[in-house]
């Protein structure tokens, strides 16, 4: 491949390009497309849930189907929508923000994506094969063991494959940040989004293995007759709860920390002001991540762990409010005295502050163990985590998409439609979830297929459902916006927002596939801003023009993931029919073969010659 290869190609070539790409910017596209697809799927499931709950004793869907809906809504949104979209945003921006040409492990990066994609497809195939998993996204062991059919097996196999992909993504980002930073880009000059990516990757690295083991235990109990959760043979289902939340609580921070980083960049950019208290922000992020591993049992206050454990975890949970508070006040101080420009991206960031603050407040309230005896497993909790995950993560994703759309696709999303999306979503969101705090305290547990008449829960549920329609409308407007922008959108300049960080310092939007011809020299925090206000207006190169080393594309990640996908089906169905062992071993062997090919073939990548750059410049 050379520079000339950027010309127009046919659809087949286009498809092949994406199937084999190891370019972090194209992998970002893939993550966003895959995650976006699952986001819509999870959204449809959410609307079905809300329609079922629009009135008391509704029979819109059956109890079994309802349980499948809530399970798949939670699982899809967290594992297959939010996380991949975040990984997409990280892939799109982080390597550019540190002035790198690529990530440390481009091949692994691609493998991570395909494992996620095949894991997600496997999980969703359950709808068409044996019915979806129905034991909740938390899949507590006693109920999961009790669940008939193969639904929960799909949950286990799908998440195991997708989780392995996420772990690879995490390791890749960690190494990238440590070794690939451009000259002058010291740790304490990195943009907050890069910091957040780094710390989030640490969380992924230490949290996901607990889930891996947990899924492994459940898989063996369900498929091979072991007794980890079989009480009659001395098993213990509380182990599942512990391991699940040792993973699950850091997971919540995996979902929110990257957006904390993004919001820091966005507030700073659109206030035209340096981030207030940069050092405190970095350390607050680290502290939140650290505490995130210390609080898992606050999901288990009602399990009966005893007052000592409950007290320790209650206090640790409340302590997280301190670093989170520091962040919120530093964002306010960043805007204070600035020149705040309000556009669609900034609206999402501004809307995030009150929404997420409410989510944080209820988080502290939930941390008070005895109060939690009333909140636990009710709609209060449902309201709380939607305030955090929608008010934080989803707002952040929309913010990131508006902010980085030029970086991703070279065009700016339509502002009017962007604002319409924000306002309808914002109103719908509060309409849906605020009332749920009260529904919970009025006696409505979560995961209720129906609520009965005459229990005073009718009005609240109706309001909640109406809010869900507003949010659906907003998402539809956003989709129209994407199409409209793709067809008629204006071409974005390389630096459309008067940016401060290196992702806006490339020669064009979107950046060329080699990112930087010459690596930029960083002279401080907000390197581009420094050059614009105190320097020549553009980045000084840190190296003379020379050959640029690029990795080769590869189809192997796709094939490897396909192998695991087939093996996953084999695992699920071997309990019915021994012939499926062929798929199990066949898939494994195929994946192994692909790994051996990868190992045996020397892959040195290729070089873009200095002369090619010079020729192009003429």
């Amino acid at each position: 491949m050379s520079l000339a290869a950027t010309q127009k190609k046919g659809f087949g070539a286009f498809l092949w390009d994406y199937l084999t790409t190891v370019d972090h910017k194209k992998i970002a596209h893939l993550y966003l497309a895959g995650g976006g697809f699952f986001f819509l799927l999870g959204g449809i499931e959410a609307v079905i849930i809300r329609i079922q709950l629009i009135k008391p004793e509704n029979d819109f869907i059956s109890a079994g189907l309802y349980n499948e809906m809530i399970t798949m809504h939670g699982t899809t949104m967290i594992f297959l929508a939010a996380m991949p979209i975040l990984l997409g945003l990280m892939n799109a921006a982080m390597p550019l923000q540190i002035g790198a040409r690529d990530v440390a492990f481009p091949f692994l990066n691609s493998l991570g994506f395909w494992l996620f994609m095949f894991g997600g497809i496997l999980l969703n195939l359950s709808w068409f094969l044996d019915g979806a998993p129905d034991a909740g996204w938390t899949s507590y062991a006693a109920l999961a063991m009790d669940s008939p059919g193969h639904g929960v097996d799909f949950y286990v196999a799908g998440l195991q494959i997708a989780g392995a992909g996420t772990l690879m993504g995490g390791i890749n980002f960690l190494v990238t940040v440590v070794t690939m930073r451009a000259p002058g880009m010291t740790y304490m000059r990195m943009p907050l989004f890069t910091w957040a990516t780094f710390i989030t990757s640490v969380l992924i690295l230490f949290a996901f293995p607990a889930l891996t083991i947990n899924l492994f235990l459940l898989m063996f109990d369900r498929m091979f007759g072991t007794a980890f959760f079989d009480v009659s043979l001395g098993g213990n289902t509380i182990i599942w709860q512990h391991l699940f939340w040792i993973f699950g609580h850091p997971e919540v921070y995996i979902l929110i920390l990257p957006l904390f980083g993004l919001f820091s960049d966005v507030f700073s950019t659109f206030s035209r002001k340096r981030l207030f208290g940069y050092t405190a922000m970095v350390f607050a992020t680290m502290l939140i991540a650290f505490l995130g591993f210390m609080v898992w049992a606050h999901h288990m206050f009602t399990v009966g762990l005893g007052p000592v454990a409950n007290s320790i975890f209650a206090v640790a949970t409340m302590a997280i409010a301190v670093p989170t508070g520091i962040k919120i006040f530093n964002w306010l101080a960043t805007m204070w005295g600035g020149s705040v420009k309000i556009n669609a991206a900034m609206l999402w960031a501004l809307g995030f502050i009150p929404s997420f603050t409410i989510g944080g407040m209820t988080g502290v309230m939930l941390g008070s163990a005895v109060a939690d005896f009333q909140y636990h497993d009710t709609y209060f909790v449902v309201a709380h985590f939607h305030y955090v995950i929608v008010g934080g993560t989803v707002f952040g994703i929309f913010c990131g998409l508006h902010y980085w759309w030029p970086l991703l696709f070279g065009k700016i999303l339509n502002e009017t439609m962007g604002k319409l999306t924000f306002w309808t979503f914002f109103i719908g969101f509060h309409l849906t979830f605020f009332i749920q705090h009260f529904l919970g305290l009025m006696g409505m547990p979560r995961r209720y297929w129906v609520f009965l008449e005459n229990q005073g829960l009718d009005l609240g549920n109706l309001i909640s459902t109406i809010g869900a329609f507003f949010m659906s409308f907003a998402v539809i407007v956003f989709l129209i916006n994407i199409v409209h922008t793709a067809v008629k959108g204006e071409k974005a300049p390389a630096d459309p927002w008067d940016g401060r960080t290196l992702e806006w310092a490339t020669e064009s939007s979107p950046p060329p596939y080699y990112n930087f011809k010459q690596l930029p020299l960083t002279r401080g925090l907000d390197p581009l801003w420094i050059e614009k206000t105190e320097g020549k207006g553009h980045m000084t190169p840190a190296e003379p023009l020379g050959d640029v080393h690029m990795p080769n594309g590869s189809f192997l990640p796709f094939l490897m993931s396909l192998g695991f996908f087939v093996a996953g089906l084999g695992f699920i169905y071997q309990t019915d029919e021994k012939l499926w062992y062929i798929a199990l071993y066949g898939g494994m062997a195929f994946a192994l073969l692909m790994m051996i090919i990868r190992s045996v073939k020397d892959d040195h990548g290729y070089y873009i010659k200095k002369e090619e750059f010079e020729r192009e410049a003429e």
Binding site: A63, G64, Y140, A142, L143, D146, V231, T237, R272, R274, F276, G277, Y278, A280, T302, V303, P307, N310, S311, V315, A319, A321, V322, I326, F329, N330, A333, M335, W336, G337, G338, S339, L350, I353, P354, T357, I358, M361, T362, V364, M365, S368, A369, V370, A371, F373, Q374, D377, F438, M442, G443, P445, R447, Y448, W449, F451, N454, G456, G460, T533
Partner: protein
């Protein structure tokens, strides 16, 4: 002083908002109007944390509003570059230290209440009831008094009752919002929860841990009666003769069918052997059928004929031979006449 005023105003606003939204819910279901020891302990902390957090909310919202009013980009000044501020040690210390103080204010009472509610050292001096959570019903065993019942839990007002809870199948959670917060009912260990209801009444109980298709239908009642009535109830329930043939002819036929169609294999009356399904000793006094339906004969016949359509995934479906409408009617008549005691939900006041 300003802080205190803010607190009270926030509390007032939040409280009135809740009231406007829909009162506080049903008085015998809501957690917002506590009528028991546990629910009161929770409510105290709910109020404390809500007040503190409302103060925090204002501390975030007020600066945000000021920013939006004062620091917007001005027309014609798009090129204005604000002063680049690195940070401010004093300010940053302030918004680190104040939250720490607030956390301590909330943490201390939380820890005290946590230890208080978990203290079961005096259990042997009080009433103990064994609770078993089943898919999708509750069993109550008054072991010390040799009495068993299901679905309606009778307890005396103003006395501590210790519930020793275990699950027969999957994890459940025992929750009577108005009287007490919840505690999980696990399959592997006995969890002890003590409850104390202040007033007589019939309170709604719910399963709060996802347990299968009919999780949302696993309701039960806690019937709080006076201590005298409670003693009476225990005595009456202990004197039941399961072999007694009802005087009513239809009901007598129903009893025969109840034995013949293998209902008895699962359902006990008094101390008869069936232990798989709910105990039916005082079925005629129950507030509901299957935990959710009004106690009418029509509903009972519907339930007997097709339980699956009412509680999906229940374990009764398919465990007995098909019945004709007439047979179901007779069994229903028999069951509804099982009123072994004069202490009924009506005794509790509502």
């Amino acid at each position: 002083m300003i802080g205190r005023m803010g607190k009270f105003r926030a509390l007032f606003l939040l409280g009135s908002l809740a009231l406007i939204l829909s009162g506080c819910g049903k008085e015998n279901l809501t957690a917002l109007v506590p009528k028991g020891y546990g629910s009161e302990a929770s409510m105290n902390l709910i109020i404390l944390t809500t007040v503190v957090m409302s103060f925090v909310f204002l501390a975030v919202i007020i600066p945000l509003v000021i920013v939006l009013l004062r620091f917007r980009e001005k027309k014609g000044q798009e090129d204005f570059i604000p002063k680049q501020v690195e940070g401010n040690q004093t300010l940053e210390t302030v918004w680190t230290v104040i939250p720490i103080i607030l956390v301590i204010i909330m943490a201390v009472p939380t820890v005290i209440a946590t230890f208080d509610l978990a203290d079961t050292s005096e259990a042997s001096e009080h009433i103990n009831i064994n609770v078993t959570g089943n898919q999708y019903w509750w069993h109550f065993d008054y072991e010390d008094d040799g009495v068993q019942t299901s679905q309606d839990l009778y307890i005396p007002a103003g006395e501590r009752v210790y519930l020793n809870m275990i699950a027969a199948d999957v994890t459940h959670s025992f929750w009577v919002p108005t009287i007490s917060g919840k505690l999980d009912v696990n399959p592997e260990n006995v969890n002890t929860l003590y409850i104390e209801a202040y007033e007589e009444g019939v309170y709604w109980g719910k399963c709060a841990e996802f347990c299968g298709p009919s999780h949302s239908l696993m309701d039960f009642k806690v019937i709080v009666v006076s201590p005298e009535e409670y003693e009476q109830w225990l005595a009456d329930m202990g004197n039941v003769n399961p072999d007694e043939v009802p005087g009513d002819a239809v009901a007598a036929e129903g009893k025969e069918l109840f034995e013949e169609k293998s209902c008895m294999g699962c359902h006990a009356i008094g101390d008869s052997p069936g232990q798989v399904g709910p105990n039916l000793t005082n079925f005629g006094n129950r507030t509901t059928i299957a935990g959710i339906l009004d106690p009418t004969k029509e509903n009972l016949v519907d339930w007997i004929m097709d339980p699956e359509s009412i509680k999906p995934g229940n374990l009764m479906t398919g465990k007995y031979p098909d019945l004709s409408d007439d047979e179901a009617d007779k069994i229903a008549e028999y069951l509804l006449q099982l009123k072994e005691t004069d202490v009924t939900p009506e005794s509790a006041g509502n």
